[in-house]
C-alpha cells in the first residue's frame, strides 16, 4: 500500500523535472537515489509529513512511536499561528520496550481517547513511525475505529521515517489530506474569489505578508495548506475556485489531484522576490477570471502590482549606497535561488554564486541567465571548501540555512538564515525589503571589524607591541 503510493508520488506528471525525463529515468523515480550510509544529511519522511501538516493549529498531532521522533523535536518549527496554540504541544505514545513487544495498537487507541477527552480538538492526526511500522501496528485501522467511537476525525498519516526523504514525507502528508480531510466539510459561504494556497507554512509569519495583498484584491484565502490554518478550513478546501502552489516540489501532487478531483486549477508561483510576487498575483487573478470571477480583478491587480512595486523599489533604493558592490554567496535550494538573485542585483550587490541543488532545469537556466558573467552556479560545496572561500574573503555575506551557519560564523563571516529556521519573514513586497534590510543590518554590523581583530600576541603568546610606557 505504502509502496504503491511512494512509487506513484515519485512519478509525478505535474512536475516539470519529471516531465523532462526519459521513460527509463522516470521509472527510476525522483529522489530514488539511495541515501549513502555515513554521508547522508537531512530529515526523514516522518519529519516531512509532520512539517507539512503540523501548521494546522487547532488539531492534535499525535506521534505513535518511541520517544525520539517527537521528544527530540517538538515545538522546534517556527510556523506561526494567529490564534490556536494546540499544535505547538508535543503528543506521543512514547513506546516502552513492553509496548513494542505486545504491540502498540491498544496504547495508541487509549492515547487518542485521552487527547480527545482532554483537549476536544476538531481532529487528531496520528503519525506512523519506523518502529510501529516495523512491528506491524495497523494505524489506519485504529484511527478508523477511534474515529467511529469518539465521533471526531482521526487521520492516519502513514509516512514512517525509513520510507524515504523529507520531501517524500511532505507529499505523503498531502496524500493524507486528500484521502481523509479535504472535501469532508461543506462550507456555507463559498464565493467566486476563493482560493487555496498550497505549500505555505507561515514560517516566521510569511502568510501574513501575502494575505493582505490578496485581501486588497477581494480574494479570499479559503484554505492555506497548511500555514496558520484551522482544520475546518482545510476540510472545505475543495470549494476554492483556484489555487496557488508554492514550494512546488513538495505539493505538486496535491495540486494536480485537487485539479482532477474538484476542478481547481492552480498556478505555480512564488512570493520570494518582487517580480515573482507580481507574476503570482497576476497568475491567480487570471485563473479566477477564467473561472467566472469579476473581470475587473485584472485591472485591479495591475494597479496593485504597479503601486506595490513602485513602493518596494523606492524603499530598496535606500539600501543601495550601503550594499552596492558587496559580494553575496547564496546557498539554498529550489526557487529561492533565482528569485532572490534578481532583487540583490538590482540594488547593486554582486552575487558571486548560487547553489541549484534542488532546482529544476528551468530554475537553473534562469539562475544562470541572471548571474551573468561574474557569478557561477554549483550543486554542493563541501563545508571545508566553503570555509576556505569565506576565510579568503571571496564573499562578504553568506545567505543559507542552518546547516552551514557555523561554516560562516567560525570563519567570522556575516551570515543570514534564509531557510526554514529563519526568524524574519521574507515573502511578498514587504518581505523582500525586509530581507535586504536584514542583509544591511548583518553585513554592516560593527561587530565584524571587532571579531576579526588579530590576537595581539604571536603564536607563543608574546606581545607584538613594545610596552608604551618605556
Amino acid at each position: 500500500m505504502l509502496k504503491r503510493k511512494v512509487q506513484e508520488l515519485m512519478n509525478e506528471p505535474g512536475c516539470a523535472t519529471n516531465r523532462a525525463k526519459s521513460t527509463a529515468e522516470k521509472k527510476k523515480g525522483c529522489g530514488a537515489k539511495r541515501l549513502l550510509p555515513g554521508a547522508a544529511a537531512g530529515g526523514c519522511a516522518y519529519d516531512g509529513a509532520k512539517i507539512a501538516l503540523q501548521p494546522i493549529t487547532d488539531a492534535v498531532h499525535l506521534v505513535h512511536g518511541p520517544l525520539a521522533c517527537e521528544g527530540n523535536s517538538w515545538d522546534s518549527r517556527n510556523a506561526a499561528s494567529s490564534g490556536c496554540t494546540l499544535y505547538r504541544r508535543g503528543f506521543t505514545t512514547d513506546l516502552s520496550e513492553l509496548d513494542i513487544i505486545h504491540g502498540g495498537e491498544r496504547k495508541l487507541y487509549q492515547a487518542i481517547r485521552a487527547a480527545a477527552e482532554r483537549f476536544w480538538p476538531p481532529a487528531i492526526f496520528v503519525y506512523q513511525t519506523c518502529v510501529t511500522a516495523l512491528i506491524g501496528d495497523d494505524v489506519e485501522a485504529v484511527c478508523r475505529e477511534a474515529s467511529k467511537r469518539l465521533g471526531l476525525p482521526v487521520i492516519p498519516v502513514v509516512a514512517p521515517g525509513f520510507a524515504g526523504s523529507k520531501n517524500l514525507g511532505n507529499r505523503l502528508g498531502g496524500e493524507a489530506l486528500l484521502d481523509h480531510v479535504i472535501g469532508t466539510v461543506e462550507p456555507g459561504d463559498a464565493g467566486p474569489h476563493d482560493i487555496n494556497i498550497l505549500g505555505e507554512y507561515n514560517l516566521a509569519g510569511e502568510l501574513w505578508q501575502i494575505r493582505p495583498l490578496l485581501d486588497r484584491l477581494g480574494i479570499r484565502v479559503r484554505a492555506c495548506i497548511t500555514g496558520d490554518s484551522r482544520y475546518v478550513e482545510v476540510a472545505s478546501a475543495h470549494r476554492a475556485r483556484a489555487a496557488i502552489m508554492l514550494c512546488s516540489q513538495a505539493m505538486v501532487t496535491l495540486a494536480r489531484k485537487m485539479r482532477e478531483r474538484w476542478d481547481i486549477p492552480y498556478v505555480e508561483g512564488s512570493f520570494y522576490g518582487i517580480q515573482d510576487t507580481s507574476d503570482t498575483l497576476r497568475g491567480i487573478v487570471r485563473l479566477l477570471v477564467d473561472r467566472g470571477g469579476d473581470p475587473d480583478l485584472l485591472t485591479r491587480a495591475d494597479a496593485l502590482v504597479a503601486e506595490e512595486e513602485r513602493r518596494a523599489w523606492a524603499r530598496l533604493d535606500n539600501f543601495a549606497p550601503r550594499l552596492a558592490g558587496r559580494k553575496v554567496l547564496l546557498y539554498t535550494g529550489g526557487v529561492k535561488s533565482w528569485s532572490v538573485v534578481s532583487a540583490l542585483k538590482e540594488i547593486g550587490m554582486e552575487v558571486i554564486g548560487t547553489s541549484v541543488r534542488k532546482s529544476t532545469p528551468e530554475d537553473k537556466e534562469r539562475a544562470k541567465a541572471l548571474l551573468g558573467e561574474e557569478g557561477s552556479t554549483f550543486d554542493a560545496i563541501p563545508n571545508a571548501e566553503m570555509y576556505r572561500m569565506l576565510k579568503a574573503g571571496e564573499a562578504d555575506i553568506l545567505l543559507s540555512g542552518g546547516r552551514t551557519q557555523f561554516v560562516a560564523l567560525k570563519s567570522r563571516t556575516p551570515w543570514l538564515d534564509i531557510n526554514q529556521e529563519r526568524h524574519h519573514a521574507y515573502a511578498g513586497y514587504d518581505g523582500m525589503v525586509e530581507l535586504v534590510r536584514q542583509i544591511d543590518l548583518t553585513l554592516n554590523n560593527p561587530v565584524w571589524a571587532a571579531v576579526r581583530r588579530p590576537d595581539p600576541w604571536d603564536a607563543d603568546g608574546r606581545p607584538l607591541e613594545a610596552p608604551s610606557w618605556l
Partner: protein, 449 residues
C-alpha cells in the same frame, strides 16, 4: 523524603524526556576527533543534530547509517560497514561512536557481533577506534544514553598498564554538568596539583571557541592517549548517580578506587570534593578555595531571604533534579512540584512530597495542585507552560535553545554555587511575590465575616 510515582499513561503531552541515543551522542562529543554515528533511519540523526545545534550553537558532527525499509528488514550490517568506511574516508576520525536506535534494536540486530566481523575484514578501519553502545530510544532518556555511552567507552577504548600511579585523578562528569561546570572541575583539580583526566570532556569541544580551520569531527575533548592513562590515576570521581555504573566498570578494569559524588553544586558536596582532592593529592586546600568557601557562605547568608518559603517547580533528568532541588531546599525554598524522566531509586531522598515520572503536562497538574508556584526550573520546552501561567522560568538542562550561554554557565564548585544562588535569587525577585500592599483592618468588612 519523596514518593516516586510513575503513573501509567498512554499519552505523553509535551515530553520532558530527550532520547537515549541523543544522550549517547552528546557523550561522544567529549572525545577528541570523534564522529558519532546513529544506526537508524536518517531522521533519528537529523532531529538529534538540530536539537544539539540549537542548544550549543555549534556545528554538531553526527552521522547516520541511513536505514530504509528494506535494509531494516534484511539487516543493517552492510549499512554499518558502508557508514564506517565512508566516515573514515571522508572525515578521518580517531573514534567513531556507534549508537543503536529503537529501530535497529526492535529488529534485534547484533550490532556488536556485526561490528567484530566488519572490523575483521576491513583493514582500512584499523586506525579508528569504534565504540558500540546499545541505546534504544524506548529505554530511558538522555541521562541513560550518556551513561551507557561512557560505559562503552571505558569497555572498548584501550587502557594502559597499571604500572605506577601518577599525580592524576579521573573525573566522570554526568550529563547534567555543562561544559562550563567541567571547566571548573578541571581548574579545581589542577589547583591541587593533580592532572584531571575527564571522560567525556565537553569543555574542550562544546565550550564555544574558534578552531583554526574547518574540522568535520569534534573540536576537542578527551584524547585516546589520555583515556589510556586513566589506569594510573589515584582516584576516580564520578559526578551524579548515573555515573556510578561507568565508574564501577572503570574500577574493575583498572583497580582505581571510586568516589561517587551525588553532585558538585552546594556547600556540602563541594566540601566533600575539596576534602577528597586534598587527601588524594596530599596537599592542603588552596587558599583560593578557602576564600571561595567563605564567599559562598556569605552568599547563602544574603540569599536565604530570597529563597525562604518560596515555592519552586522543577523538571529535569534525575541527577539535574536532585542537584537543583537540593540546592533550593537547602536555601529554604520549597519544592512543590517535581517531574523527572526515570524512577531513579535515590530520588526517594528528594526534598519533596512526590516526584512524578512524566512530562510537562504532569508538571502543570502538580503546580495546579500546589496552588501555584513562584519559579519554574526546567529546560526551554517549559516556556509554553511558563507563558500560559505567567511564571518565571529559570532554564536548566537540555535543551536550552532560547537563551545564550547555557553551555558555559557553571554551577559547580563554591564559585559556581555562589553564582547560581545569585541568579536564582534574582529570578525569584523578578517573580515578585514580595509585592507589598497596604494591609488594612476594616471593621466593616470584619463584621460582615
Amino acid at each position: 523524603m519523596a514518593l516516586i510515582v510513575s503513573p501509567p499513561k498512554p499519552l505523553s503531552v509535551s515530553p520532558l524526556k530527550i532520547s537515549a541515543p541523543l544522550g549517547g551522542a552528546l557523550a561522544f562529543m567529549g572525545l577528541d576527533g570523534c564522529l558519532p554515528l546513529f544506526h537508524g533511519a536518517q531522521g533519528c540523526t537529523a532531529f538529534a543534530v538540530v536539537a544539539m545545534v540549537r542548544h550549543f550553537r555549534e556545528a554538531i558532527p553526527l552521522q547516520t547509517t541511513a536505514m530504509d525499509e528494506i535494509t531494516t528488514i534484511l539487516g543493517g550490517m552492510d549499512n554499518v560497514e558502508q557508514a564506517l568506511l565512508n566516515i573514515t574516508r571522508r572525515a578521518n576520525p580517531k573514534v567513531i561512536g556507534l549508537l543503536s536506535t529503537a529501530l535497529t534494536e526492535t529488529r534485534g540486530e547484533d550490532m556488536e557481533g556485526d561490528l567484530r566481523v566488519i572490523l575483521g575484514r576491513n583493514p582500512e578501519l584499523a586506525g579508528v577506534a569504534v565504540v558500540p553502545a546499545a541505546t534504544p530510544d524506548y529505554d530511558g532518556s538522555l541521562e541513560t544514553g550518556w551513561s551507557k555511552a561512557v560505559e562503552a567507552m571505558i569497555r572498548w577504548l584501550p587502557q594502559g598498564p597499571q604500572i605506577s600511579q601518577a599525580e592524576q585523578v579521573n573525573i566522570l562528569p554526568g550529563s547534567h554538568l555543562t561544559p562550563g561546570d567541567v571547566e571548573e572541575l578541571h581548574a579545581i583539580a589542577e589547583d591541587f596539583g593533580l592532572e584531571p583526566l575527564i571522560l567525556p570532556d565537553l569543555s574542550g569541544a562544546l565550550d564555544g571557541h574558534l578552531p583554526s580551520g574547518w574540522i568535520s569531527t569534534t573540536l576537542g575533548g578527551t584524547s585516546l592517549a589520555r583515556v589510556r592513562r586513566m589506569s594510573r590515576s589515584l582516584l576516580t570521581i564520578a559526578v551524579g548517580e548515573h555515573m556510578r555504573g561507568p565508574a564501577e566498570v572503570l574500577r574493575r578494569r583498572t583497580g582505581v578506587p571510586v568516589l561517587v559524588l551525588d553532585r558538585v553544586t552546594g556547600l556540602d558536596p563541594v566540601d566533600r570534593l575539596m576534602v577528597a582532592l586534598a587527601n588524594v593529592s596530599g596537599r592542603p586546600v588552596p587558599l583560593r578555595y578557602r576564600r571561595q568557601r567563605s564567599q559562598l557562605i556569605d552568599a547563602m547568608l544574603d540569599g536565604q531571604f530570597a529563597f525562604a518559603g518560596r515555592r519552586i517547580a522543577l523538571a529535569g533528568e534525575p541527577d539535574l533534579l536532585w542537584s537543583m532541588g537540593r540546592l533550593v531546599s537547602e536555601m529554604g525554598g520549597r519544592v512543590v512540584a517535581a517531574v523527572t524522566t526515570a524512577a531513579a531509586p535515590f530520588l526517594a531522598e528528594f526534598p519533596a512530597d512526590r516526584v512524578i515520572v512524566g512530562d510537562f503536562d504532569d508538571l502543570d497538574e502538580q503546580i495546579t495542585e500546589a496552588g501555584g508556584c513562584d519559579l519554574l526550573i526546567a529546560n526551554s520546552n517549559a516556556s509554553q507552560l511558563a507563558g500560559r501561567r505567567g511564571l518565571a522560568l529559570f532554564r536548566a538542562g537540555f535543551p536550552v535553545f532560547d537563551r545564550l550561554g547555557a553551555a558555559q554557565r557553571a554551577g559547580a564548585g563554591y564559585r559556581g554555587t555562589r553564582d547560581l544562588i545569585f541568579t536564582l535569587a534574582g529570578a525569584l525577585a523578578d517573580a515578585g511575590s514580595h509585592l507589598v500592599t497596604e494591609h488594612r483592618h476594616d471593621p466593616a468588612q470584619a463584621a460582615a465575616g
